[in-house]
């Protein structure tokens, strides 16, 4: 138990645990533990910087500029005008990493939202109702789990590929393939989360306060979403955080296998894929910058997730 007040001297440990200080809220407690996790704090700092880079950077360079080809400066090394150099068709890599970062972050976040929504829904229903509903939903979950995710992703990427038209949201045009990637990553990642949520529900629904709520005639949806769900939020948050990193990496893999986000929309993943053939040609700036950014973001999110797990897990008292 993390104690903040000075324990009175010479009181045996047993008693320390009985005399609790005024209870801290979960958020406060978590923050206290989290703060001490140096790696996690570093992760947060990097993550904030990367978000600033992608979204703040967009205030300085326009998307048109990021997609501007200049065939007279193909594959130029970094200069003052193009600090990250230019790519195979003379586009400015700095500007492309800014806009690519937005799409990569967007994919990471929204794919996880899809994943979390489906995962919570399936897990909650299965865990709460049990019986044949549980059996059916869990068979579905197993069905998805039984196929390696990358296989399923490739099949689904081809299934949906080219079938979704380009979208214009807020004046910006998005390649339909962005939606495809988000959907398929979300649709193949949820089973793990569904299992976690189901397990939480199974254990929580038998607790007294739930039985009490049920006895007083609280509507089912209220029990599920207001009583049980908040109590099982910790593992969901951790899993979702790590899911963002997973989605960003998966996007890079799908790009590498040729089924990623389509031109001219840049992502860090497809920039790296396009650069991959130039690894031996001295054009290090093609792969260095998107590669570095992917490593940084995945790393920082993983640190963050790790810290969150330690901070939220009531068993990890070591910090």
């Amino acid at each position: 138990m993390a104690l903040t007040t000075d324990p009175p001297a010479l009181i045996p440990q047993l008693i320390t645990e009985d005399v609790e200080p005024p209870p801290l809220s979960l958020a406060q407690l978590t923050w206290r533990r989290f703060r001490r996790h140096r790696m996690a704090m570093l992760g947060v700092v990097i993550l904030v910087l990367l978000i600033l880079y992608s979204y703040g950077g967009a205030l300085l360079v326009s998307e048109t500029y990021a997609n501007h080809n200049d065939l007279t400066i193909v594959l130029d090394a970094p200069t003052a005008a193009h600090p990250f150099g230019t790519d195979t068709t003379g586009r400015d890599i700095l500007a492309r990493t800014v806009y690519g970062g937005q799409i990569s972050l967007l994919i990471g976040l929204t794919a996880v939202i899809v994943e979390t929504l489906v995962g919570i829904f399936v897990g909650a229903i299965a865990g709460y109702y049990g019986g044949w509903v549980d059996s059916l939903l869990m068979r579905m979950t197993e069905a998805v789990l039984n196929i390696p995710q990358i296989f399923l992703l490739l099949v689904m990427a081809k299934f949906f590929g080219g079938k979704i038209p380009n979208l214009t949201i807020g004046g910006r045009e998005f390649s339909g393939s962005v939606v495809v990637i988000i959907l398929i990553i979300g649709m193949t990642s949820w089973p793990y989360l569904a299992r976690i949520v189901r397990a939480e529900f199974l254990s929580i629904k038998e607790r007294e306060f739930i039985l009490a709520a049920r006895a007083t005639g609280t509507p089912t949806w209220e029990i599920i979403f207001k009583h049980i769900l908040p109590n099982s939020i910790a593992p969901i948050v951790v899993s979702a955080t790590l899911g963002v990193a997973g989605a960003i990496t998966l996007e890079a893999y799908i790009s590498f296998l040729g089924l990623g986000v389509r031109a001219p929309t840049a992502t860090w993943g497809n920039m790296l894929e396009g650069a991959y053939q130039y690894i031996d040609q001295g054009a290090y700036w093609l792969w260095l910058f998107p590669g570095l950014l992917i490593v940084l973001i995945v790393l920082s999110i993983n640190f963050l997730g790790d810290g969150l797990r330690d901070a939220l897990d009531p068993r990890s008292r070591t910090v």
């Binding site: 790696m39 689904m156 081809k158 296998l257 790296l272 031996d280 992917i294 640190f303 790790d306």
Partner: protein
């Protein structure tokens, strides 16, 4: 126990059905096997029409699925396009062990196509799994014993960086460093592609040398997750009363760690490994592709690219089946190792 196993196996039947139907539907829309047939130009009109009929691709999807599942040796099919079904079907269907023939390698049974690649994938992936487990044990135990030391943080950070890098990048960088640049600098270099050098033939030594780079690439990305896992279970076990007791009794530290703590920490690791093994059958799609390793991942990719439904279905069903079996084995092993668990 026997009743439990039978019940689990019975439960697996609808599961496998569900998977096969979903995949079959997906596969119908992932590409046209007759588009170019691997050539550089689109298939000619007359040939497309003839092949669609000969390969049975003109049938409605439920008929195609039925033929896939239970065969067509009870039906007659039309091969010459005169509208009269006069030829006896020959397929026996997946339920009778016939997964059809590959559309790409025309006429070759799916089982042969898959079986040819299975040993290569097993070799690559099991070796990697061994390297990962051993490496993760060393790193994980070390990190648990020296928690939050500089080295713990360094090792953790390094393994995280490995985990964060896309494997294709690690793989290609490794090829360039160890097989291109090393050769250029006159250092002993490693081969980049394939399983052996034709000058020396396919000897175990050649295969081992050719395995170094792919195994290293696969291991680097998974080492992080495993070592973190071992670190946390070790930490948990080390905090238990009986370990404290053992240490206070004055047992040597080495013995406490490696015999008592590790033994108890390994139980959850067994589960993870047991669940991982069937998924290894899929091989590492990306690694096998880059290092030209003739395994199942590449087989999947090559045949998915050409819409070869029978082979893709064969691979996926094999994996799904393996997952079911290994899950069962893991559960049983677990119950056997841990007497607190009982299945009814």
């Amino acid at each position: 126990m026997t009743r439990y196993i039978i019940r689990r196996l019975l439960q697996a039947i609808p599961l496998l059905f569900l998977i096969s139907i979903a995949l079959f539907v997906l596969m119908q829309n992932v590409g046209d096997p007759l588009a170019t047939m691997g050539g550089r130009t689109a298939t000619r009109a007359a040939d497309r029409e003839r092949l669609t009929r000969q390969l049975g691709l003109d049938k409605p999807i439920y008929v195609q699925y039925l033929y896939w599942l239970i065969g067509n040796d009870w039906a007659r099919i039309d091969l010459d396009g005169d509208g009269v079904a006069e030829t006896q079907g020959t397929r026996r269907g997946a339920l009778r062990g016939d997964f059809g023939t590959s559309l790409v390698n025309r006429g070759v049974p799916v089982t042969t196509v898959v079986w040819d690649r299975l040993p290569n994938t097993l070799l690559l992936m099991l070796t990697s799994e061994l390297v990962i487990i051993l490496g993760a044990l060393v790193i994980g135990i070390y990190a648990a014993l020296r928690q939050y030391s500089l080295l713990d943080n360094l090792v953790t950070a390094l393994s995280f960086i490995g985990f964060s890098m896309p494997i294709f990048f690690i793989a290609l960088a490794a090829i360039y460093i160890f097989s291109v640049y090393f050769k250029r600098w006159g250092l002993p270099s490693l081969p980049a592609t394939g399983m052996f050098d034709p000058e020396y033939g396919k000897t175990p030594a050649q295969i081992l040398v050719h395995m170094i780079l792919p195994v290293a690439s696969i291991s680097i990305i998974s080492l992080a997750a495993y070592s973190r896992y071992i670190r946390s279970t070790m930490l948990e076990v080390l905090g238990q009363d009986y370990i404290r007791t053992a240490r206070s009794k004055g047992l040597p530290k080495r013995e406490v760690i490696f015999i008592h703590a590790l033994k108890n920490a390994s139980l959850p690791i067994v589960t993870v490994v047991g669940l991982d093994i069937p998924l290894l059958l899929g091989g590492a799609i990306v690694t096998e592709r880059i290092f030209a390793w003739p395994g199942m991942g590449r087989l999947f990719l090559d045949h998915l690219e050409r819409g070869d439904t029978p082979v893709v279905m064969g691979i996926m069903m094999l994996i799904a089946f393996a997952v079911v079996i290994f899950q069962l084995i893991t559960d049983i092993t677990y119950a056997w190792l841990d007497p607190r668990i009982r299945y009814h």
